[in-house]
Amino acid sequence: MVDYCVHVTIENKPGISDPEGKTILNDLVLKGTHQNVSKINTAKMLKFTITENNKESAQSKVREICDELRIYNPMVSVVTIDAFDA
């Protein structure tokens, strides 16, 4: 059993408005010299450290926790879960 670092990224589903992302795009990035940026989505990231047998089980365990405890709200959000060696 070893420690794994699992990143959980929570973001809005496509079609759910993200006013914070729009503000960062329109009022910060596009007001500078970076005119080639077309979209910014904000997200929340949680970094888990979890002890498991392997990377796959670390990832699936964290997904299970996220689903069970409603770490993200499935009505409006999607999660991406990535596991790394700690």
Binding site: I16, S17, P19, E20, T23, L69, R70, I71, N73, M75, V76
Partner: protein, 226 residues
């Protein structure tokens, strides 16, 4: 008649709600700490506003896992009236007792202002004393008050008459300007505006009577003469 006001770590409208229920409407009111079982003699339960657990992760989601929520689910199945106000509404949606979700206001601002509601459903335990489409001047105070449901759920809410209150104009980007909804059975109502801040003429510069009808509806439901 016994009413419980549930207190979570970070609730901050519990005392206002307690005052209104006990001093204005003469109800036997009890604080109910979230980590203890819900008293068994309650005839109604109110989840007050505030910032349970500092709104960490998402407003209401951590409180939705409090032990008392399981008790509230059980008594709600018996038809006991449950009202969630502001953070109480957020907790009810996060616990799955009400449909939808509350997102950050479109403006990203914490909004503290007077709004006007219209009553869309006057059959619930908290709206039975209203005329349909009656207006209620009432304050909001929230950062995450934008009610959202997907189109399919919205159709369902409309079909089953689960939309209880709407804002009379665009306030925060809520789906269909929804300010409050109820469950399928109609006994659980959640609303973002604060009726407990609007029922007394001393603190209501508009008209305090419509907000009072929310509580008078509960009295009527319970057969209490105030």
């Amino acid at each position: 008649m016994n009413v419980g006001v549930v207190v979570f770590p970070g609730s901050n409208c519990d005392r206002d709600m307690f005052h209104v229920l006990s001093d204005v409407f003469n109800l036997n009111t009890h604080y109910c700490w979230h980590a203890k079982p819900l008293p068994e003699n309650l005839d109604a339960v109110v989840l007050p506003g505030g910032f349970s657990y500092g709104d960490r992760l998402r407003a209401g989601v951590i409180a939705a896992h409090s032990p008392i929520i399981q008790d509230i689910k059980k008594i709600s199945e018996k038809g006991i009236p449950i009202l969630g106000v502001c953070n109480g509404f957020q907790i009810l949606v996060e616990s799955g007792l009400l449909p939808g979700v509350l997102l950050k206001n479109d403006s990203l601002n914490f909004m503290c202002e007077w709004t006007n509601l219209t009553v869309e459903n006057n059959k619930t335990p908290f709206t039975n004393q209203f005329e349909l489409n009656q207006k209620i001047p009432i304050p909001i105070a929230n950062g995450e008050g934008r009610y959202f449901v997907d189109d399919e759920t919205l159709d369902q809410l409309e079909r089953k008459n689960q939309i209880v209150f709407k804002y009379d104009q665009v306030v925060n980007g809520s789906s269909n300007q929804i300010a409050g909804v109820c469950n399928d059975d109609g006994n659980i109502v959640g609303m973002m505006p604060h009726p407990e801040r609007a029922v007394e003429s001393e603190i209501n510069p508009h008209d305090n009577k419509p907000s009072s009808l929310i509580f008078e509806s509960l009295l009527k439901k319970m057969g209490v003469n105030n």
